[in-house]
Symmetry: C2
Subunit: 110 residues, 2 copies
């Protein structure tokens, strides 16, 4: 299952790091709790819509841009999952090498 909060956390963290800012600095600017935001970046807590807006404002990035990036990251994982579910049909050598058994085993483990 692709979880929104995990990829949202990754996108938010990447943007912050790109700007060379620490979590502490960003949280002070956005007026959000450091502990809460740390959990969000690691995909462990859901971000409220208000927090998301505050973070986008502090990062000076439109919310639509963050969501578009998350959508792209989700699409990549969905595609990777689709491949894992049909390794036999796609004849992927890499996946066959990773799988201890046959395609059915991989599909049921996914």
């Amino acid at each position: 299952m692709v979880l929104f909060r995990r990829l949202l956390g990754e996108v938010l963290r990447a943007r912050r790091v790109e700007q060379g800012r620490t979590l502490r600095q960003l949280c002070a600017d956005a007026r959000v709790s450091l502990g809460y935001m740390s959990e969000i970046e690691r995909g462990r807590k859901e971000a409220s819509s208000e927090l998301l807006a505050a973070m986008c404002s502090a990062l000076d990035v439109p919310l639509s841009e963050i969501l578009s990036e998350v959508s792209d990251a989700v699409a990549l994982e969905e595609a990777a999952m689709a491949v894992r579910l049909t390794p036999v049909e796609l004849g992927s050598e890499r996946l066959a090498a990773q799988a201890p058994g046959n395609g059915d085993v991989v599909a049921s483990a996914a």
Copy 2:
């Protein structure tokens, strides 16, 4: 402030209605509470990542597609807000007609 949960609710609702399904049917398929989902469609509650995944699965729509639609809807609202904040510079007749005073009044009210 553009709130993610409001536009997410609108997108999810539009998809359900497009498919001619009632909230009750969809919630039964997704195994989520009718009351909770009703609040989400109206943008009153945040959807957990697990619920979002369950709804996408029940709607048979990839999460990436839902997020992309929400991103587009958010972008439209961001653009509309940007216009409201600078009605004088953009010379929007429609906005000028709506505003009782000048541009500064509109900006401070937004």
